[in-house]
């Protein structure tokens, strides 16, 4: 876990298996979900930060007053699925440190890969990522939560060059 007080910069650079956020293939929706997820993890790692308020506020600001809390709650349900099954520490980047927030940790990358895969209907790929993340333990609850999350998210916009040509 890398936790930093708000607005403190640390000049961190990526560790092995970490990538820069700009290099991750997240669309705008997935990028917002990553921030919500990080705020929740900050709330669990440092309860006195009250970062759960930030998670809800961020989701409301990005997705609206009705959809925002629902999306935030469903992200939380998916995270709780991982928390219940993963035995080791989940390493996340602080959402409030600009240098850390620009880096996607290995565990975040795996979770987000599962989110992206479920959004695109690739449940098998999501299960593989979650199996790695949850260290071989049951991933059923997390997959169900991600499917529920997908149901309230805007559809994926396919780039032009990925459209089928007849």
């Amino acid at each position: 876990m890398t936790y930093h007080a708000p607005y403190e910069q640390c000049y961190r650079t990526p560790l092995p298996k970490e990538i820069f956020r700009k290099d991750a293939d997240f669309d705008e929706i997935e990028s917002q979900l990553l921030t919500v997820m990080r705020l929740y993890f900050q709330a669990f790692a440092a309860p006195e930060s009250h970062a759960w308020i930030g998670a809800m506020d961020w989701a409301e600001a990005q997705f609206g007053p009705t959809q925002g809390p629902i999306i935030a709650a469903r992200v939380l349900a998916a995270l709780m699925g991982v928390r219940r099954t993963r035995q080791s520490v989940f390493r996340f980047s602080s959402p409030t440190c600009p240098d850390c927030a620009a880096i996607v940790t290995e565990h975040e990358r795996r979770f987000m890969a599962a989110v992206c895969a479920v959004r695109r209907g690739q449940v098998g790929a999501a299960q593989t990522e979650l199996m790695m993340l949850c260290e071989g333990n049951d991933t059923g609850r997390t997959i169900d939560a991600l499917k529920a999350l997908r149901a309230v998210l805007p559809n994926v916009v396919q780039p032009q060059d990925q459209n089928a040509h007849v």
Binding site: A43, F44, P47, E48, H50, W52, I53, M56, E60, P65, T66, G68, P69, I70, A72, A73, L76
Partner: protein, 166 residues
């Protein structure tokens, strides 16, 4: 809540049935959020969102819970002292109210019923003489999300105590 909380003496015990169904539903949500604010390790915010979703359904319940959180955040920011509340997980304290809880629920009820003078008086009592804009805005936003003329709830009489938790 109470028809005239401003006229309600802090040494009297409220009569049975004075708590309307909306205030009765809000009470545990308010308590869980206060517990989350004042005792972060409790992670009471998760119970608050869950309880609200159970009462009002996922979409409306989560939006209402978010409104309660913003309202309580404004109250706590404006108060020089913590809010006294009963333990939301203690069954024996479920039917007991503190003076601060009476004021919080009374304020929301007054706003729901458009009783401006009563609401203003309750805000000043809660904040020590101020009427913060943020508190009024968040209170009115929450009131607009709730039913205006709810039924009286059928429950055991509530008991007012002088308990103070911090």
């Amino acid at each position: 809540m109470f028809d005239h909380p401003a006229a309600f003496s802090h040494t009297q015990t409220p009569d049975a049935g004075q708590l309307d169904v909306v205030s009765g539903a809000l009470l545990p949500i308010v308590r869980h959020f206060l517990n989350a604010y004042l005792n972060p390790e409790s992670f009471g915010w998760r119970h608050a969102y869950g309880a609200s979703a159970e009462v009002w359904g996922e979409a409306r319940g989560l939006a209402i819970a978010h409104g309660v959180q913003q309202f309580l955040s404004a109250v706590l920011k404006a108060r020089p002292v913590p809010v006294a509340y009963m333990d939301p997980l203690d069954i024996d304290q479920r039917e007991t109210l503190t003076h601060d809880e009476v004021d919080l629920l009374g304020l929301i009820a007054a706003m729901r019923a458009d009783k401006t003078a009563q609401a203003r008086e309750t805000i000043m009592r809660l904040t020590g003489g101020q009427v913060p804009t943020q508190l009024v805005e968040s209170g009115l936003k929450l009131a607009a999300q709730l039913d205006r003329n709810p039924r009286q709830r059928n429950a055991a009489p509530l008991k007012l105590v002088h308990s103070s938790r911090s």
